[in-house]
């Protein structure tokens, strides 16, 4: 959402460009509220299809990871079938993966915990480095890629990253685990247009009605279960494909 959008480029009768229109977004507003029909900036719907960021090997590992973080059980299908890996792939391929909004000027130096993340690496580069190191670790220890491990071994490796007992070379393993877990759970719980939460399975699981916008009739209906199923932002059928 960080790159210039149609909305930011809009002009209208109330908006006169200060300088050359092809280059400028700076604008003067005078006399009336600026308005252009159909100027909104809806999110683009994630389509299934080839990986945009991950290599085939990386994608295999990510699908296996998200499927253990969000395992299939009686509550929902697993993270892979719900699209969590697709969600992460599309995020990493875009401005979020490049940390476009972050302050990324140097000098970079380690600070205190209270000073926050000071790494010069983008999210996309952190995934690339950590997945390569994970692959080396698993081939070294189990002679297999992560995706080929038995579920119990996968869980042992994930738990080792979580608790810092497994250190992947050249990468901050605990920080990577946190990033991966956050992204996976975001994909699980976000609106399905971003590629995860297929069929709004996570929302059905907890009873969240989704992108509804008017609960006035329900404010004072206390201790009653809200009866309607969830809705998403977009009604496009590709949600659930």
């Amino acid at each position: 959402m960080f790159s210039p959008t149609r909305r930011e480029l809009l002009t209208s009768t109330a908006v006169a460009l200060l300088i050359a229109p092809h280059a400028a977004r700076a604008a003067i507003v005078k006399g009336a509220l600026p308005w252009t029909a159909a100027a909104a900036d809806p999110p683009s719907v994630v389509r299934p299809g080839p990986w945009l960021y991950f290599t085939a090997d990386e994608a295999g590992a990510i699908e296996a990871l998200v499927d253990r973080l969000i395992p299939a059980d009686d509550l929902t299908p697993g993270g892979r079938d719900l699209g969590c890996a697709v969600f992460i792939d599309r995020q990493l391929a875009g401005p979020q993966g490049r940390y476009e909004g972050r302050y990324m000027s140097g000098p970079f130096q380690a600070g205190t915990k209270q000073q926050g993340d000071q790494s010069p690496l983008t999210a996309a580069r952190r995934y690339r480095a950590a997945l390569a190191a994970l692959d080396r670790y698993c081939r070294d220890k189990y002679a297999k890629a992560f995706a080929q491990l038995a579920d119990a071994d996968k869980d042992t490796v994930i738990g080792g990253l979580e608790h810092g007992t497994i250190k992947l070379d050249g990468t901050d393993s605990a920080a990577f685990f946190k990033l991966l877990l956050t992204d996976t759970q975001n994909g699980f719980l976000a609106d399905p247009i971003y590629g995860g939460n297929k069929d709004m399975a996570a929302w059905r699981m907890i009873g969240f009605p989704g992108a509804r916008y008017d609960y006035r009739e329900w404010v004072e209906r206390h201790n009653e279960r809200f009866p309607l199923p969830p809705v998403g932002i977009s009604s496009h059928p590709s949600w659930s494909q």
Partner: protein
């Protein structure tokens, strides 16, 4: 080389709440006014329409409506002995961007400060003696009183249509309102919002414990409202997408929904958007502002001359522009000399989560508004005896959960695994039957200290090559003790509601720039009666440069136990009144030191 533009009577830096109010008042007084805004124009129908405003990932997690740190950020350290490092991604606070400023994404909790808050040092030393306050606590009186501000609080509430229940009407305590509030001249413009189930349980529990709960004053309106400017707001629909989000429904008070439609029709007003002011220009005496210099999105530099400069940016950027422009004297934490950057404060937020029996309680947490909730004020300000407690300050507390958005509001009991089926089951079992006030239930003051301050960073620059603001900030024992005391009181109310488990989270040090509290940064260009210890006088006029006025929470000498916007709005109307009734007739210092 800047291109010089035609002269204006007044230039406004930043078109948020205070810029809009000052813009309207000055254009209404007949001045030729230009407002220069760093970010884009924002309009509900385009920027966050009802068809996709309910997007937790985009607006909450990915900060769609906020300033990007890549545009500008701050550096941070706890102590002067450390090297400050940049805040690379927002954490402890969120900074707005674009027309409407933080008034777009706020929760619209619209409080007034207590009368004693405005005379804090005088009040506390009178009640507890000279020795009670820590030596390094630098709290001050404001130089303005609650009674002087009351009509201006009223104007801001009328502008917003604030929904609430009066607690003190002309000195007479009212049932159902906040009995501790200062005397108000009139009731709120609209009645309080309705309360969903869990909030009524909180009120019942608070009453059982002997407190006097009242509905939180809300800028999410209980009913449709037309304000004195003729601008109409709709009824809040309790959608649960309020803080961090814009309101697609025109029912949250914001500059967009209360004042901009009237302001842009003023023939002598214009706004320039996506233009960032890089400095305030002074003449050779440094006692008079000649206008501002700004840069547009193509990198072209413009000089806007003006007779009057209104600095209406966010707190941090007000202070940054003063320091970069050479207005006043930078604060020195060793000698305590200098005014710009002193008394920088934030907030002390804490709270807790209550887990209830899922077979007995269905709270539907997604039915909420930004300023929903029932609160008590028994532990705010000096509403309680601090004598035996060994700290000063306090806050309101309440069940004020604003949402049930699933990425961030799916609390699980301690000990739950962070992933896997056990995590999923705990999320499922607790979503509808917990009250999550972990980061909001206790909204308490942060007083000011000698070593909490702002100055220019020696290393890190913004995209224009200007030094970033450097914040040196830590929690002090006073606030830690206060938070422990208040959080225990709060947890007892949640327990009384019937929670089977309460997980309390008192605020602990050190101050952490990664942990969200509130976006209520205060001070750095504070108001006061003495030019040695304040940057602006009681009318928010610069002591050093009398044709410069500095609005906003940068004027707060310390933070109180409330959300700041009501007071920011009241101060803007108070300053506007002084400009119209005094300054414009006779430009010059309004207070002679």
């Amino acid at each position: 080389m800047a291109t010089k533009l035609p002269h204006k009577d007044a230039v406004i830096i930043g078109l948020g709440w205070t810029g809009s109010i000052l813009g309207y008042e000055l254009a209404d007084a007949g001045l030729d006014v230009v407002a220069i805004e760093r970010g884009p124009w924002r309009d509900p129908a385009v920027s966050f329409p009802v068809s996709y405003a309910q997007d937790e990932l985009r607006y909450r997690l990915q900060h769609e409506l906020f300033l990007r740190p890549a545009q500008s950020t701050v550096t941070f350290r706890n102590k002067t002995s450390e090297t400050a490092l940049p805040v690379r991604n927002w954490g402890a606070f969120m900074l707005g961007n674009g027309v409407g400023g933080a008034g777009v994404h706020w929760n619209a909790e619209t409080w007034r400060f207590l009368p004693s808050d405005f005379v804090l040092r005088t009040h506390l030393t009178q009640r507890y003696g000279d020795k009670f306050l820590p030596d390094d606590m630098t709290i001050q009186d404001w130089g303005v009183t609650f009674d002087e501000l009351e009509p201006h609080y009223d104007r801001f509430e009328r502008l917003c249509g604030t929904s609430g229940t009066a607690g003190n009407l002309k000195g007479k305590i009212q049932d159902g309102g906040n009995p501790f509030e200062g005397a108000r001249s009139r009731p709120y413009p609209t009645p309080a919002q309705k309360q969903p189930f869990s909030y009524t349980l909180f009120a019942k529990a608070a009453r059982e414990l002997g407190y006097k709960p009242f509905p939180q004053p809300s800028g999410n309106l209980s009913q449709a409202y037309t304000n004195p400017l003729g601008v109409k707001l709709g009824q809040c629909t309790y959608c649960g997408f309020c803080e961090w989000f814009g309101c697609a429904n025109y029912s949250k008070a914001s500059p967009q929904t209360t004042i901009l439609p009237a302001l842009v029709r003023k023939p002598s007003f214009e706004a320039r958007t996506d233009c960032e002011v890089t400095r305030i220009n002074l003449d050779s005496t440094k006692k008079r502002a000649t206008g501002v210099t700004y840069v547009d999105t193509s990198g072209n530099e413009w000089e806007q001359p003006a007779d009057l400069v209104l600095l209406c940016a966010f707190q941090l950027f007000n202070v940054q522009l003063l320091l970069i422009s050479g207005v006043g004297t930078p604060y020195d934490p060793q000698s305590r000399n200098g005014q710009i950057g002193r008394n920088f404060s934030h907030q002390t937020v804490s709270g807790g989560i209550g887990f209830f029996d899922k077979d007995k309680y269905i709270f539907n947490p997604f039915i909420a508004s930004g300023s929903i909730g029932m609160c008590i004020d028994e532990f705010n300000g000096d509403n309680f005896d601090h004598g035996p407690l060994g700290f000063v300050g306090g806050g309101y507390m309440g069940h004020v959960q604003t949402n049930g958005r699933p990425i961030q509001t799916t609390p699980v009991p301690p000990g739950t695994p962070a992933w896997g089926s056990a995590w999923k089951r705990a999320v499922r079992d607790n979503y509808l039957s917990s009250v999550d006030n972990a980061g909001a239930g206790v909204h308490a003051s942060m007083y000011s200290y000698q070593t909490n301050y702002l100055d220019l960073d020696p290393t890190y620059k913004d995209r224009f090559g200007r030094p970033l603001m450097r914040m040196t900030m830590d929690f002090h024992d006073n606030e830690i003790k206060m938070s422990a005391y208040l959080t225990e009181k709060f947890a007892a109310i949640i327990k009384q509601m019937g929670a089977k488990q309460v997980v309390a989270s008192p605020r602990k040090g050190p101050y952490d720039v990664t942990a969200y509290q509130t976006s209520h940064l205060c001070g750095g260009a504070i108001m006061g009666a003495d030019p040695k210890s304040s940057a602006v006088n009681r009318y928010l006029q610069s002591w050093d440069v009398p044709n410069l006025f500095v609005m906003g929470a940068s004027a707060f000498p310390q933070n109180a136990g409330y959300n700041p916007t009501g007071t920011v709005g009241a101060l803007a109307f108070w300053a506007a009144d002084a400009l119209r009734s005094q300054y414009l007739k006779n430009p010059g210092p309004l207070v002679h030191a």
